[in-house]
Each structure stands twice: as structure tokens, then as C-alpha cells.
């Protein structure tokens, strides 16, 4: 099963990114094989609708779980429609978050915020 986590550095011991839509990379972690792949977030420099474009990318990468500190309503609509589980990230390293997820310690993300609508 693939887990997606937004990150700003391509290392496992750094913290999870505060932003989903504009994180620099997405870590795609395979729980079965323990393989990590850092994929550039195509949406990072988007004018607007970054959350939407990032969510589309997560869906296309085949992730089944998304661990993120926050998510806008537009991105959330896409992620939920794709049947992807959304977990609230801990303010901690990526490694810790993966471990916590594996131990079933992470909560579902329930506070979805209204979108940025970042352009006119």
C-alpha cells in the first residue's frame, strides 16, 4: 500500500510540509516494500488551484493514504472521491509519521479548510 506525504526536503528525518498544495515534493512510501520515492510536486508553482493539481497528482500516483497536517476543501473533494484515506500528520518527522500510521496511532483529518482560491 502506498502512503503519500507532502514534504519540503527529500529526506525522511525532516518534518512534514505545512502546506499540501505547495509542498516541494511528495513522498510516496510503500508500506510493503519499505521503498521511498520523492516525487516533485507539479502544483508547487501553480498560479492557483494548487491543492487541486496536487490532489490529482496524488490520485494518479496510486496512493491509498494521505498523511497531511491540513487540506483545503477542493483538494479534499478529489482525495475523498478517489477513496483515499486522509490522516492528520503529527508535527514531527516523516519517519515518525509513517511509524505512527503503521501502529494505527494517527487520527483521521477532519478539519478541512475552505480553499485558497489563489488567483482572481
Amino acid at each position: 500500500m502506498k502512503i503519500a506525504i507532502p514534504v519540503d526536503d527529500s529526506t525522511l528525518n525532516k518534518e512534514v510540509s505545512m502546506s499540501f498544495g505547495r509542498a516541494s515534493y511528495f513522498l510516496i512510501y510503500n508500506l510493503e516494500t519499505n521503498e521511498s520515492e520523492f516525487v516533485l510536486n507539479n502544483a508547487a508553482n501553480s498560479q492557483g488551484g494548487a491543492g487541486i493539481k496536487a490532489a490529482q497528482q496524488i490520485v494518479d500516483l496510486g496512493a491509498k493514504v494521505l498523511i497531511t497536517p491540513r487540506l483545503g476543501e477542493n483538494a479534499a473533494e478529489i482525495i475523498l472521491k478517489a477513496g483515499i484515506n486522509i490522516k492528520k500528520a503529527l508535527a514531527s518527522s516523516v519517519e515518525n509519521n509513517i511509524r505512527s500510521f503503521a501502529n494505527n496511532e494517527l487520527n483521521d483529518l477532519i478539519d478541512i479548510h475552505a480553499g485558497f482560491h489563489g488567483h482572481h
Binding site: 488551484g49 490532489a55 490529482q56 478517489a82 482560491h117 488567483h119
Partner: protein, 279 residues
């Protein structure tokens, strides 16, 4: 003659000046293009002759025709489309209504529907025709409303006053596009001057004749006046800040109607503009 009243900063008295100029004028038209926070109608309290919804075109997909090519998703510069579980999702509030997705779809699966973003009210207050635009809260751009408001004037309208949004962004540009003259309202604070400079640049780029009205003047230092003198900008009037004016306005009354002694101040501004100042 179309006179746009604008200011770099909000709260300088744009609406105050535009409303009073329209009221002091004979058979004028007042256009409220500050569609995010329209206030002119609060002063005019017009009787409404006509209300019109302003709509933009939003795409929707015909699922049976969609074969998942995703050309629309790739094309959209605003990321307003997503394709999930073989279904196309349209994010209507992000869409710019460009019509591109309709064009690029290889199967003609995308059509457009109309969606309301706000409305325009057309009415009268004594002999002033009052047209106000209202953008629905949550909607991003008022440009389609401003465009529609500006279409409502006729060539035979002698005096049209355009109450512009604050600032110098694209919605202000849209409002002054067809104006014959720009009247800039400035307040005596350094905040005002900084933004006055931006609006000055704007009207210069558009090559509009313009002049300044200094509002809320007192005996204190006036950085806006200093700026105008340095830049050799014509100052048409210096409206004082006094309790009488402040009270009338804050209570939503039109100064020239409530206290006719102030009428001549605004009539003088009109005469000066029509004589050809600021060219």
C-alpha cells in the same frame, strides 16, 4: 462626459465625491463599480427600476461522451478540473470561464451553463440614474459585473460618474478604461500618498486627463498636497474635514442635498473639469 472617481487607498472619500458630484449635476448617471463593497446606493436610496443577475459561463461534462482523455484537465491554466474514478470534477469557483476545455475536448463532451456571480440594480434618485453592482460574497472577480455596468450607459448621457474600486489593480483598470477624465481623491496621510503615487501611474499609463481633489483637509501638514505640488498635478479642490460634513456622511445623507450650501463646491469641481483641466 464620463468621469471616473478613484483613489489608491480605500476610505479617502471616493464615494462621497462621486455621489455628491452626481447629485450636484443635472440629470446625471452614477455607476457604482466598487462591486465588492458598493456604497453609493446607501446614500441615493434609489427606487429600483430593474434588477439583473450577472452570469458567467461554467463548464459541465456530459458523462456518456467523456472518454477520459483528460485533455481538459491538462489544458486548464487554473487547475479548475480534476479527473477521479473516471469522473470529471469542475471547481466552479476557480474557473475563469475561458471556454478552453470546451474547445480541447476531442469528444465534444463539455458544454457550458450560466452561473450567477452577482447582480446589478438600475434605479433613480430624483434626477440621478443610479446603477450599482453587487458581487456575491465568496466570488473571486467582479470584472464581468463592471463590464456589464459600463455597457448600460448611452452616448447621449451627458454626465456619467464612475465610482471605482480602491487600489490600482485590474478591476480599477476595467472601471476607468472608457473614462474621459479621472478624478483622484486623496487624503492627507502618508498612507494616502503612497497609494496616490500608484494611481497616478495608472492614469498616466492610460493617458487619461486627471486631477486631484484633496479630502479631509485640516490645518495640519498634508503629505498628499506636497506630493501633488512636487509632481505638478492639478488640485481642483480641497474639501475640509469638519464635524458637520462627517456627521451628514456617516449618517448616509448626501451632503449637497442635506446642506445645499456645499453644492457650489461640487459645481465648481464640475466646471473646472469641463473647462479642460489636467490635459
Amino acid at each position: 462626459m464620463k468621469i471616473a472617481v478613484l483613489s489608491g487607498k480605500g476610505g479617502t472619500g471616493k464615494t462621497f465625491v462621486a455621489v455628491n458630484l452626481a447629485a450636484a449635476s443635472f440629470q446625471s448617471t452614477y455607476l457604482d463599480c466598487d462591486v465588492e463593497e458598493p456604497n453609493g446606493h446607501l446614500f441615493f436610496k434609489p427606487s429600483i427600476d430593474n434588477s439583473e443577475e450577472v452570469r458567467v459561463k461554467i463548464p459541465f461534462v456530459i458523462p456518456s461522451l467523456c472518454n477520459g482523455s483528460r485533455k481538459c484537465v491538462e489544458f486548464c491554466r487554473y487547475n479548475a478540473l480534476a479527473y477521479v474514478q473516471e469522473k470529471l470534477i469542475v471547481f466552479e469557483d476557480i474557473c475563469h470561464s475561458c471556454g478552453g476545455c470546451v474547445l480541447v475536448c476531442p469528444n465534444d463532451a463539455i458544454k457550458e451553463k450560466d452561473k450567477g456571480i452577482g447582480m446589478i440594480q438600475d434605479g433613480k434618485s430624483d434626477d440621478v440614474r443610479v446603477i450599482s453592482g453587487f458581487l456575491n460574497p465568496g466570488k473571486a472577480s467582479g470584472i464581468p459585473i463592471i463590464k456589464r455596468i459600463l455597457q448600460k450607459t448611452k452616448p447621449e448621457d451627458k454626465r456619467v460618474f464612475i465610482d471605482c474600486p480602491p487600489g490600482s489593480s485590474c478591476i480599477v483598470m476595467e472601471s476607468i478604461k472608457n473614462a474621459d477624465f479621472c478624478l483622484i481623491v486623496a487624503e492627507p496621510t502618508i498612507f494616502g500618498v503612497h497609494n496616490l503615487a500608484m494611481v497616478h501611474e495608472l492614469v498616466s499609463v492610460f493617458k487619461k486627463p486627471f486631477a486631484v481633489v484633496l479630502n479631509k483637509c485640516s490645518n495640519e501638514e498634508n503629505p498628499a498636497k506636497t506630493y501633488c505640488l512636487e509632481q505638478k498635478i492639478d488640485i481642483i479642490a480641497e474639501i475640509p474635514y469638519n464635524e458637520e460634513i462627517g456627521t451628514v456622511c456617516s449618517n448616509g445623507f448626501i451632503l449637497v442635498r442635506k446642506l445645499p450650501k456645499y453644492r457650489s463646491m461640487f459645481e465648481n469641481i464640475l466646471v473646472t473639469i469641463e473647462k479642460g483641466v489636467g490635459k
